[in-house]
């Protein structure tokens, strides 16, 4: 009896095995997908937090920059500079300290003149109200 039983060959269901394999692959894929998504999620969270920390740091640095700028402005205020200069033996600049080497023409003056000329030209071109007023002024017939 025992020997007869031993001769029985179990049949394997190939379809079941195939299904199981597909099922396993799907499970592994899904699992991997979930793991990847979780990793991406936590990584995004982590980066967001780092980003926030950096933002805060930028704000703090800007704030510090403002404070330093304020200190610089206070330290270099004209009255402070004057005090320091006098302490070091400097004296107030006088006209005699200026040596004119060539025909003197300051850059500032030129640009100012140009501005002035430009403004007058614009005024003339534009037939503005001021022009009319001046016309009235010349004829002694100003009316407001």
């Amino acid at each position: 009896m025992k020997g007869r039983l031993q001769k029985i060959k179990r049949e394997t269901d190939v379809i079941t095995w195939r299904y199981s394999l597909v099922f396993l692959i799907v499970i592994v894929l899904l699992g991997t997908g979930f793991l990847y998504a979780a990793k991406a999620h936590f990584s995004a969270m982590n980066y967001s937090m780092k980003n926030e920390r950096l933002q805060k740091e930028i704000e703090e640095l800007e704030n510090n920059q403002r404070k330093l700028k304020l200190k610089k402005e206070i330290a270099s205020s004209p009255s402070e500079v004057e005090k320091a200069a006098r302490r070091l033996g400097f004296r107030q600049m006088s006209p005699q300290d200026i040596q004119v080497l060539s025909k003197a023409k300051s850059v500032n003056n030129n640009s100012s003149e140009e501005l002035s000329r430009e403004a007058v030209r614009r005024q003339k071109d534009g037939q503005s109200a001021e022009e009319k007023q001046i016309k009235y002024a010349k004829t002694g017939d100003l009316k407001e």
């Binding site: 205020s77 006088s94 005699q96 200026i98 300051s106 100012s112 002035s116 002694g140």
Partner: protein
Amino acid sequence: MPASIRKKDFRQETFVRFLLIVALFTIWLGIIGIRLVYLQISQHEFFKERAISQRRDKVRKRMMRGTIYDRSGRALAMSVKARSLFLNPQEIENPFIAAEILASVFKFKKEEILKELLKAKQEGKRFFWVGRKIEEEQAKRISETLQREAQAKGLSVIKEQITGFYWQEDQKRVYPLGSLAANVIGFSNIDDVGQAGIELSQESNLRGAVVRKWQERDRLGRVFDSEMEEKEPPKDVYLTISASIQHRVEEALKEGVEKAKAKSGIAIVIEPKTGEILAMANYPSFDPNFYSRFSSELFSNRAIQNVFAPGSTFKVVSYGAALDRGLIAPDEVVDCGNGVIQIADRKFKDTHCRKSFQDSIVVSSNIAAIRAAQRLGEDGFYSYLRAFGFGEQTGIELPAESTGILSQKERWSSASLASIAIGYEIGVTALQMALVFATVANDGVMMKPRIVKEIRYSEGTYRKMEPEARKVLEEQTASVLRKMLYQVVLRGTGRLADPDGYTAAGKTGTAWKYDEKLKKYNSEKYVSSFIGFAPVQKPAAVVAVVLDEPRTERRNGGDVAAPIFRRIMEQILPELQIPPDEALVAEEKIETSNTDFSEVPRVAVQDSDRKTDEKRRRKRED
């Protein structure tokens, strides 16, 4: 009962039971499903909002107020981060201990703070300011001291926070240069709203909007995402003022006002070619960092808000108008009778008779100025007054500018023309008068005064303020006037205004003050002024100095205001890189009235030392 039937019954019973359990499960799941559908579909919005509110919070934040800079980019007013402390009286466990701690840290009177705290608690208030705009380092120190004191006295402190005590982020306005240009810059109040000066006039540009920031937090309360509401950031304002020149002008004015024992003083420096204000000083002034400690009378910018009778400085307008119409010539001799002329019911006296118009302005003759105006007539003179901008605002970017006082021509009395010609019956601001001289210095072209140079946006772009001009006098008229005014400084009433190294032109003014109580001019109180420009040939700066009620023995404009003008010019012209011209002009003996500046040849400047020394000696002798 046969065994097979019993077995069948048992199986059936088991199956029924199984079905029952399945049915129960199905019903249970169905109920859950229905509930989920209800919660997730019908109540979707409500729970979504609740979920968001659990992990998101909203922070309201005010952007930093814009900075005010001078023309070279030096910060005159800026905001820094600060913190404010407030209490929730309802959360304060023991007001007595809280008051004790606050009194010791903030140096308050314990009884007063306790009284206010108890009152707030009783009234159900949930907000009570303790300290506002405390600088960060100081706030940190205070916070630590408060915690120590609170722990020692038994108040509950959780996560470094005392129950009922809250710190709020804030900002503080700081004026790094203190009182420098305080009347121009103005100040902003505790709520960061501009109250005076540029702070007020440029409020719309400087004000930082309140922005909302949404923060998302994880289960541990850590912020992992934030979203900021988009709003236009505040702009920075660049002024035409030069901090360095302003400092020098303020120093000179302070010294001059104290020396003259005057009530107050004003000084303005204008670049005539552009109309840019380089300095505008008031003395006495205030420190905007501690504005609450000063009288509000000091806050006004008297250079544009105070109206005064200009006196003799106004004669420039009378001469200028008559010259422009070709009604007078500089060398024409003025007949002033025996030194007294009567117009309507008023007598105008003069000690300088039978002089040319040129010499009359040198000695500041009243009758000559009246004669010049009379030739124009009321209509003509009035039209020039309007063309010079009297009776209207100059349009400078500062608040509360006065128009001055100029009566309608129809309301003039028979003597008004004569009075106005010598600077009475008219009210002007120092800026209006400075502009008259700037017009003469700028070949008859009046530039609109500007104090805001440009507005800069956060993204780096900027809006530049364009100059505006109008022609008031002919170029030739302005040139003749400059020469006449040069003589005033060289040999007339303004000799003390003559700066070393430079030629200068200008006019003195000494006017009686109008007394509101007496309803007439008070001969005891003066407004002394000197307004002029330098160098004469190519004016680079116009300086107006006005002193209110000088009380020294010699208190004419030429005695008290002219030396201030001189000191200012001597200091600012080298800074503006203007080469000295006195030696060049002196070489050609320019003291005659017919001098043509354009023909003056250039000579070596090394000679200037000798000339200047001679001049100094002459001044000392004077």
